[in-house]
């Protein structure tokens, strides 16, 4: 369990990082907190020729806020969000999600950008940020572009990132004062990867009701209009949703996803 040899670079700005990654092609990998990449390197599941460490880029650790949104630099850690060192545009949901990611030691180093880019279906940020209607900001040899979070992840460990492109930030729109959120996931034990994620956002002031079914065999499944869920449909309706969305393997998987969604709904404040 020792990594295969690799070259290591620690650029000081995004431009340099893009140039290094574009130059390395398939053989290059960006690294932030290394909480996913580290074990993969040690298990020799990946053997990149070049690792580009992004943590030396100050811009990626910064957070900025406007009246409508908060923009998190890619290297903001889960602990930063958990500890409220950065604003929470979701009025507590992002803090709640952050505080239940893995273990505190992992949260001290794991980053929001890394979580999104790695696109592990069991990760929290791809589902939570898709629910919040966030936008992912990418930078590559072709310049800067933005992709809605719900379109960013395309499959298991698959995103729209092109060679040489790196995720530099994520913009999360602020929810309104009367917005309600509910998020529930099932883990076999606290800190482990969830087997099902359910999330609901009800923001009447913005006219938005969204839901997400996550930890599936594909990308997080977003219901852009989840109004029907607020009237608490029965189990059959939820199971049907889980079926359509979750690409679930079997009856138990399907049930878990339906239960996650229902329990997320139950967590909406009255």
């Amino acid at each position: 369990m020792k990594a295969a040899p690799f070259d290591y670079a620690r650029p000081r700005d995004v431009g340099e990082a893009v140039k290094l990654l574009a130059g390395a092609g398939e053989g290059g990998k960006p690294m932030a907190g290394s909480q996913s990449l580290g074990p993969m390197l040690n298990l020799r599941l990946v053997q990149p020729a070049l690792i580009v460490d992004l943590r030396g880029i100050e811009e990626l650790r910064a957070t900025s806020e406007t009246t409508d949104a908060v923009v998190f630099g890619a290297c903001v850690t889960h602990a930063d969000i958990e500890d409220a060192r950065v604003p929470d545009p979701a009025r507590g949901l992002m803090r709640e999600v952050a505080s239940n990611i893995a273990y505190r030691a992992v949260r001290n180093r794991g980053t929001i950008g890394g979580s999104l880019s790695h696109a592990d279906p069991a990760a929290d940020w791809p589902s939570a940020l898709a629910l919040l209607g966030a936008t992912v900001i990418l930078e590559g040899p072709g310049g800067r572009r933005e992709v809605p979070a719900e379109k960013f992840v395309t499959g298991v460990f698959e995103t729209v990132l092109r060679t040489g492109e790196v995720l530099v930030g994520v913009r999360v729109p602020k929810v309104s004062r009367r917005a309600r959120t509910g998020y529930w996931k099932f883990c076999r034990k606290p800190g482990e990867f969830p087997q099902a994620i359910g999330g609901v956002l009800d923001d009447p002031e913005r006219g938005t009701v969204r839901a997400v079914i996550g930890a599936t065999r594909g990308p997080p499944h977003v219901l852009g209009d989840a109004r029907a869920l607020l009237s608490r449909p029965g189990d059959a309706a939820l199971l049907a949703l889980a079926d359509a969305a979750a690409l679930a393997d079997d009856a138990y998987d399907r049930q878990l996803h339906a239960v996650a969604l229902r329990r997320a709904l139950e967590r909406l404040p009255a």
Binding site: M1, A4, P5, R44, K189
Partner: protein, 778 residues
């Protein structure tokens, strides 16, 4: 009971280094010129080896079986009739028989470089059908693990009896198929080996995280074809064993050969990936069990066919059959019954060789029997703990020879159940069950009771045919010139706290402060022979030997003191590090007496024992069948029937370990064992696919119980002193790991009984529970 002797809750001396991260484990050792080894391990469970291609230009750094000339395979042959012997080559020869089997050894300045080199070795393997399921391995084998056998059975045994009468008379007959999953033992420290050839002493020195250095030495001598005097095995601090380190490893033999070949020290440190992918080696049993009872819940008898998945090879020294042999002798547990029949098969499969994991077969048989007994209770609409009370051996019947001729030395089994029932408050659970939970979960309570044989000796192991038979245990004790005591024993701590408990024994005999007692253990060059630390034997056997050696030293000390103080030896008492004339204040410190022996022999009595202040004494428990500790565990659980998640709401243990040498350490043993039992009950499982590939090869998939899974465990003690041991102590190390799967399964089944659900497979994963509920509702 004193503040520092037998019975004291003395804080552990060894914790001073352990809690500061200053322990010295194999991986901490740095030897000059040391090279690191990485093994090429088989990617297939069963295959013929066609070729092993070493990377061009690096041939001298890679070694396969063909290079290990003169090295003999590991061979552990059970003495039981019908046992099929086989060889375990240290590097695969002809065939590979499990994923992870050693095929080649790569050596480099660092482990990373050795792994790079291992990646370059090419294996040409012809895949064979994998033997994975133990029932099919015996009844419908797709292939033979050891072709020369003609089948896949290491050993079959039958303890026969005539059940025709009870079959006829039984009011209740409960038949169940019960499975326990394969597991991994998961000590915090994995295996680790460093070998060097000491030229001055012309001796192989092996540092290894082992539980039995003297046994490893003997095994190495056999495999390398050298005399034992040429081998020294040293176990430094060992971070947990649980049986995982009670084995002669092929890795050890390989490195021992290599260090001599290269003339440099070589090291292999097992990493977690290796541990999980190559070494899931315990707990996998299958039971077809039938329990016959009368209308009052009295057990008439048990009929059982049990299978133990013993893996590909017979591990040294315990052999492939220890667990199977145990099953038929301990399945009846602490109960009385009229008839008992048990057939067992120890079956070969393409998996890691079985090793005895804390509790050994007892965890599985407790699970099988206790789950069946709860089924009997439900059939009769009796409380499960009442059925147990109706069948346990009573205190008035002790000592009791049970149906499989186990000699229970003493104890009050029913009292353990009664106390557990009170502590867990069955009545309150029943009342709660009548009210629905607001969160929709289902509540249940479950019990499990067992008795555990420990420190059993010569005749028992000989009877089980184990190639390693323990005899007497020795301790070599000596007082240093300044009155300190050094104790050398052959057992070795890998978590038991012996540096403290043996010092407590010495304090009780000699009156010496435990701070002035030093325990030397783990080194074959410095200690008496011992079969090592396993089977909960050390406190009885080594503890008894320490006391015997201290008795001898006490006699020597008193003889010298009698001369110096001009009294009769029998007028002297040993206390507080001094020898005092009884009824007076006249005393001499042990240090003063030692000073006379070493530095002023002119003052010694003329008839002084010339052996001086050094003595070796041996010890064995009065009966070979050892001691029987016992405990009742009870658990209350909340089951989420939609997700299948189980939360343990309360967990109690009522245990009797006889006289407890250090009750704090015993509590620690119970907590730790119970945590492992919770792992077995709810989390730990190594599944294999049809090709014999292990599927949970990282800790993301192989779930271990942690702080969030283990509740606050409440312990109560009963103390029934054993008549057969020096202080009345009984072996207690394994008990905690025996009962939890049964207690928790019974609690879950109690919770789900109204839904018509009964789980008979461990671990009780959320999937298994939820699927059973879905199936019952369909």
């Amino acid at each position: 009971m004193t503040a520092k002797g037998v019975g004291a809750r003395l804080p552990r001396k060894e914790d001073r280094r352990f809690l500061k991260g200053q322990g010295e484990y194999v991986a901490n050792l740095r030897l000059a010129g040391m090279l690191d080894v990485a093994f090429v391990r088989s990617p297939m469970a069963h295959a013929r080896i066609r070729a092993i291609a070493k990377p061009r230009g690096r041939e001298a750094e890679v070694f396969s079986a063909a290079d290990l000339l003169g090295v003999r395979p590991i061979r552990a042959v059970s003495g039981l009739k019908g046992f099929k012997a086989s060889d375990q080559p240290v590097l695969a020869t002809g065939k590979v028989r499990q994923v992870g089997e050693l095929v080649a050894m790569c050596v480099a300045p660092t482990r990373a470089a050795a792994e790079d080199l291992a990646d370059l070795v090419e294996l040409d393997l012809e895949e064979l059908p994998a033997v994975v399921d133990m029932i099919e391995a015996r009844t419908r084998p797709a292939a033979l693990v050891h072709e020369e056998w003609g089948d896949n059975v290491f050993l079959e045994s039958l303890a026969d009896d005539d059940l025709s009468g009870i079959r006829r008379d039984a009011a209740v007959t409960v038949r169940r198929t019960i499975r326990t999953a394969r597991q991994h033992m998961s000590p915090l420290e994995g295996r680790g080996v460093i070998c060097e050839w000491n030229r001055r002493l012309d001796q192989l020195v092996m540092h290894s995280a082992t539980q039995m250095p003297h046994i490893n030495r003997a095994g190495l001598a056999d495999c390398l074809g050298i005399d034992q005097g040429s081998i020294r095995v040293i176990a430094p601090d060992v971070g947990g064993g649980f049986g995982y380190k009670g084995i002669l490893l092929p890795e050890e033999v390989c490195l021992a050969w290599l260090c001599r070949k290269l003339g440099r020290p070589v090291r292999w440190i097992e990493d977690r990936r290796e541990q999980l992918s190559a070494n899931a080696n315990c707990r996998e049993h299958h039971y077809d069990i039938t329990v016959y009872a009368d209308a009052r819940g009295r057990l008439l008898g048990i009929d059982c066919e049990a299978t133990v998945d013993s893996g590909a090879y017979s591990s040294y020294p315990f052999s492939a059959c220890l667990e199977g042999a145990q099953v038929s002798s301990i399945l009846p547990g602490p109960y009385k019954m009229e008839r008992f029949r048990c057939r067992t098969w120890s079956v070969a499969t393409n998996k890691a060789p079985i090793l005895p994991y804390r509790g050994v077969a007892r965890t599985g048989v407790c699970f099988a029997l206790e789950v069946a007994i709860d089924a009997v209770a439900r059939a009769l609409k009796m409380e499960p703990h009442e059925v147990r009370l109706a069948n346990l051996v009573q205190p008035g019947e002790m000592p009791y020879l049970n149906i499989t001729k186990k000699h229970f030395d003493g104890g009050d089994y029913p009292e353990a159940v009664r106390r557990a029932a009170r502590m867990i408050d069955v009545a309150a659970v029943r009342a709660r069950q009548k009210r629905a939970e607001t969160d929709g979960r289902r509540i249940g309570v479950g019990f499990a009771i067992y008795c555990e044989q420990a420190a059993h000796g010569t005749s028992v192991y000989f009877g089980w045919g184990i190639p390693m038979v323990p005899g007497h245990e020795q301790c070599a004790a000596r007082l240093s010139p300044d009155g300190g005591l050094e104790l050398r024993i052959g057992a070795h701590s890998h978590g038991q706290g012996m540096e403290t408990t043996m010092a407590q024994v010495a304090h009780s005999v000699l009156g010496i402060d435990p701070e002035n007692v030093r325990l030397v253990h783990g080194d074959t060059g410095l200690t008496p022979y011992s079969t090592g630390t396993w089977g909960s034997r050390s406190m009885v056997m080594s503890g008894g030997a320490v006391a015997a050696a201290c008795d001898e030293i006490a006699g020597r000390v008193k003889a010298i003191a009698a001369k110096l103080l001009e009294v009769a030896a029998q007028d002297l008492v040993l206390e507080n590090g001094h020898v005092r004339v009884a009824g007076t204040d006249r005393k001499l410190a042990l240090a003063e007496i030692a000073h006379v022996w070493y530095r002023k022999p002119q003052l010694l009595p003329a008839d002084v024992d010339p052996a001086g202040l050094e003595a070796t004494a041996g010890y064995k428990a009065k009966v070979d069948t050892g001691t029987f500790s016992y405990a009742c565990h009870a658990a209350t659980v909340a089951v989420d029937t939609e997700t299948g998640h189980v939360e343990i709401l309360d967990y109690v243990v009522v245990e009797d370990g006889g006289k407890l040498i250090n009750p704090m350490i015993v509590d620690g043993q119970v907590f730790g064992g119970t945590a492992q039992g919770i792992g077995t009950a709810l989390y730990e499982e190594m599944p294999f696919d049809a090709q014999g590939q292990p599927l949970a090869t990282t800790l993301a998939d192989y779930l271990l119980p942690g702080a969030t899974e283990v509740p606050a465990i409440r312990i109560d003690h009963i103390e029934t002193v054993s008549p057969h041991t020096r202080f009345g102590q009984k072996g207690i190390g394994e008990g905690g790991a025996i009962a939890p799967p049964a207690a928790i399964a019974n609690a879950v089944n109690d919770a789900l009984a109204p839904l018509g659900v009964e789980i008979t497979e461990s671990p009780l994963t959320p999937r298994r529970i939820a699927e059973a509920v879905m199936k019952a509702r369909a």
